[in-house]
């Protein structure tokens, strides 16, 4: 038995990777583009784990097979929009040529994304966790002030959404080892519905407090950072049942 121990460890490691491939994100402090009512503009992010890559069609298919209540033909319409949810798959259990196994899954509602993560004892990342992790580039934890970092993100916005999507894991990993945070898809966050940013860009210096229930109102603190602003705008346009052809997700976990 003893001589098999290393092999067993190796096997465990493989299982861990197959389990969505999480990486540890160390705790830290950063400045959000969103102005929160509390705090001095700095956000504390405790250490957590995040999936290295977005969830793929292949992974989501496995989930739907195990949880047939999330098939597109069986999902209750209060959890996902019929006609949108997984609508680009050729059949309920067959992604087909337009949704290859290694491409990020899109057209998933917030409810479906949450269910996927719960099924692997995880959750969606919070906006703070996502923004904190996505601020990095290959060498720095916070590359947001670098014009090139912004240009690269804006470059993705300039490409039409109907072009074929590249498989996940093709972009360089950031300093934490996480890939595809930019340049591939939009991603759901756990608390996206609390991002009550006005749909009208120009009112953000004077948020409609009554409309947004007082303390819930947010506004932009870093208006120059268009690249991130656009992601906030995208998320705030959505309801939890919605899905779009360029919106996917990845999961996160608390550390023990």
């Amino acid at each position: 038995m003893r001589r098999f121990a290393p092999a067993l460890l190796l096997l465990l490691a493989v299982v861990a990777r197959a389990d969505g491939g999480y990486v540890r994100i160390p705790a830290g402090e950063y400045k959000s583009v969103i102005r929160y009512e509390d705090g001095n503009g700095k956000r504390q992010v405790p250490a957590f784990a995040m999936m290295k890559r977005p969830v793929t069609n292949g992974e989501f298919l496995a989930f739907v097979r195990r949880h047939p209540e999330w098939r597109r033909d069986r999902v209750p319409s209060i959890f996902a929009e019929r006609g949108h949810y997984l609508a680009h798959w050729s059949a309920p259990l067959q992604p087909g040529a337009t949704a290859l196994p290694q491409q990020a899954v899109t057209e998933v509602s917030w409810f479906a994304a949450t269910a996927f993560c719960e099924a692997q004892n995880a959750r969606l990342p919070t906006w703070a966790e996502w923004e904190y992790t996505s601020a990095a580039d290959a060498t720095r934890r916070d590359a947001r002030a670098d014009p090139q970092w912004r240009e690269a993100i804006l470059g993705w916005y300039a490409r039409p959404a109907n072009a074929p999507m590249s498989p996940v894991g093709k972009s360089p990993a950031n300093v934490y080892g996480v890939q595809d945070l930019h340049g591939l898809i939009w991603e759901w966050t756990q608390d996206y519905a609390a991002m009550l940013v006005s749909g009208d860009n120009r009112t953000q210096s004077d948020p409609d407090l009554a409309k947004f229930c007082g303390a819930g109102a947010l506004s932009m603190d870093d208006r120059e950072n268009y690249a991130v602003l656009m992601r906030v705008a995208m998320l705030s346009s959505l309801e939890a049942v919605n899905s779009t052809s360029s919106l996917g997700f990845r999961c996160a976990r608390d550390l023990p």
Partner: protein
């Protein structure tokens, strides 16, 4: 016209019968103060709802010819599309209705407009719409924020008459507008606008690409240039050439032409002008009263003007932003071709626009063919000569003349030029870096200035020189883009020279 006559006749009958005419009649004199929005509510909509006719630029929907308020349903679809911003240059536009500017909307003051904004499933971005014709928060923006693959609906009453801009107001609003998200909505005054022979839709916008003007390939949006208000292109109707050649606006002698002019911005104010015409009427800023006999009218970013002129003679009117480097170096050029009999009493007959047109007057097709062939490594001498000829006619012929003769004592000849024959490499340097001072060509002395033409790319310079070497009795020869690149690299010049 027949329909208009019927309406007038009916109105006359009503008056004869001694009834109170409820709606103002056509041709009613406009009061000095129409009362604005406070007087703009003509009561609840009457009759069945009407689906608005939307048109793509440069077309304008027909007049409503209505005298009662109606419920008008407008369905506008947002699409993110890749199109040519200039020959061989691709850009991803965000559009209302698939075009830049977006579809033209036409309603009548007092109408209740039920607005449906649809965001195509292939869109990457959420979008909304702010119509300047709306009295309400954000001009509808707050009520129309729409994720890809979804639709929103809101309703407003058009209380003010005028020509209004609409645009997207989603963060970052400047970028959405810079990508083409604007258009016009005309709210006709209750008596309508006078009938004219032709109506067209022209809208200016400024565009910011990472590559320089006419640099080929897919060009992404450049945020820094937009912040600096330093556009790469200033265009009418969303692409260079949208109103040129086969797509020029058309009119006949003796007609009244009305242009609905908008300016989407996001940054520049337009000095709107038609070379060779005088605007008989300008409804400045798209408002209620017109000014007469105007040469150039300002159209602010996010604003409009209605201009009208009567045509007397045939010819080509050139539509420009009279901030001229925008017109001739950034693309803000359009044409209106007027056909019909000459009238020598009004004008002697020589066209007004032969110099102004520059390289826009000739077909750019050979240029694009040569660029494609060069990229594929299959460029022939003939293609180079054809492309070079097209470019020469635009850039060089103004001074050196279309047949290379030059002008005695002012501009040296290129035809049978001993100076050119002696050193092709030197000629290449002169095109790129300019030349000034005394020079002897074919035994004649010249002392003049040629500005550097470094705005031409390597392909273009190579093709022009190859054309010249193979024309007008010159000895032949060929210059490649690589030759040009070498000379360009070896002669440093200030960034942006001759731009």
């Amino acid at each position: 016209m027949k329909r208009h006559a019927t309406v007038s006749l009916l109105a006359a009958v009503v008056l004869l019968a001694g009834c109170q005419a409820k709606a103002p009649l056509p041709e009613t004199k406009i009061p000095a103060d129409t009362g604005g929005s406070a007087a703009g509510d003509f009561g609840p909509p009457q009759g069945e709802p009407i689906h608005a006719v939307l048109t793509s630029p440069p077309l304008v929907p027909p007049a409503t010819h209505r005298h009662t308020p109606a419920k008008v349903i407008v369905e506008l679809e947002v699409r993110e599309v890749e199109k040519e911003i200039s020959e061989g240059v691709k850009y991803t536009f965000w559009t209302f209705g698939g075009t830049v500017p977006g579809s033209f909307i036409r309603v009548r003051q007092g109408d209740t407009v039920e607005f449906h904004l649809k965001n195509h499933p292939d869109s990457k971005m959420p979008h909304n719409i702010d119509l300047h014709a709306v009295t309400g928060p954000g001009g509808g923006a707050a009520s129309s924020f729409t994720a890809p693959g979804h639709a929103s609906q809101f309703t407003f009453k058009a209380l003010n008459a005028g020509l209004f801009v609409y645009h997207c107001a989603t963060a970052p609003v400047g970028m959405h507008v810079a990508n083409g998200m604007y258009g016009l909505i005309l709210v006709e005054p209750p008596q309508g606008l006078p009938d004219v022979d032709r109506e067209y839709y022209v809208m200016q916008g400024d565009f910011y690409t990472v590559g320089k003007y006419r640099e080929k390939g897919a060009q992404p949006f450049d945020m820094q240039k937009a912040i600096d208000e330093n556009p790469t292109y200033v265009l009418f109707n969303g692409s260079e050439g949208s109103l040129l050649g086969d797509k020029a606006l058309q009119a006949k002698v003796g007609e009244t032409v009305r242009l609905y002019v908008g300016n989407g911005g996001p940054n520049l104010t337009s000095s709107f002008h038609v070379i060779g015409e005088i605007f008989d009427k300008v409804w400045t800023e798209g408002g209620t009263h017109f000014q007469e006999n105007v040469q150039t009218t300002l159209v602010p970013a996010g604003g409009s003007a209605i201009v009208e002129f009567h045509t007397e003679i045939p010819g080509t009117g050139v539509i420009v932003d009279h901030s001229l480097f925008r017109a001739f170096n950034k693309g803000a050029l359009g044409m209106i071709k007027i056909e019909g009999p000459e009238n020598k009493a009004v004008y002697s007959g020589k066209e007004v626009d032969s110099v102004y047109l520059g390289d826009k007057a000739v077909s750019a097709a050979p240029v694009a063919a040569a660029a494609t062939a060069n990229a594929a490594g299959a460029l022939t001498l003939e293609q180079q000569v054809q492309a070079g000829g097209a470019l020469f006619n635009g850039t060089c012929s103004v001074c050196h003349q279309p047949t290379g003769t030059g002008i005695p004592n002012v501009f040296p000849p290129l035809a049978k030029s001993d100076f050119l024959a002696a050193d092709t490499h030197r000629a290449l340097g002169i095109v790129l870096n300019g030349f000034s001072g005394p020079v002897t060509v074919n035994g004649n002395n010249f002392n003049s200035v040629m500005p550097p033409m470094s705005q031409l790319n390597d392909d273009e310079v190579a093709n022009i020189l190859t054309f010249v070497l193979n024309s007008w009795g010159n000895k032949g020869g060929r210059v490649s883009a690589a030759d040009v690149a070498r000379v360009r690299a070896s002669t440093p010049r200030p960034q942006g020279a001759a731009h």
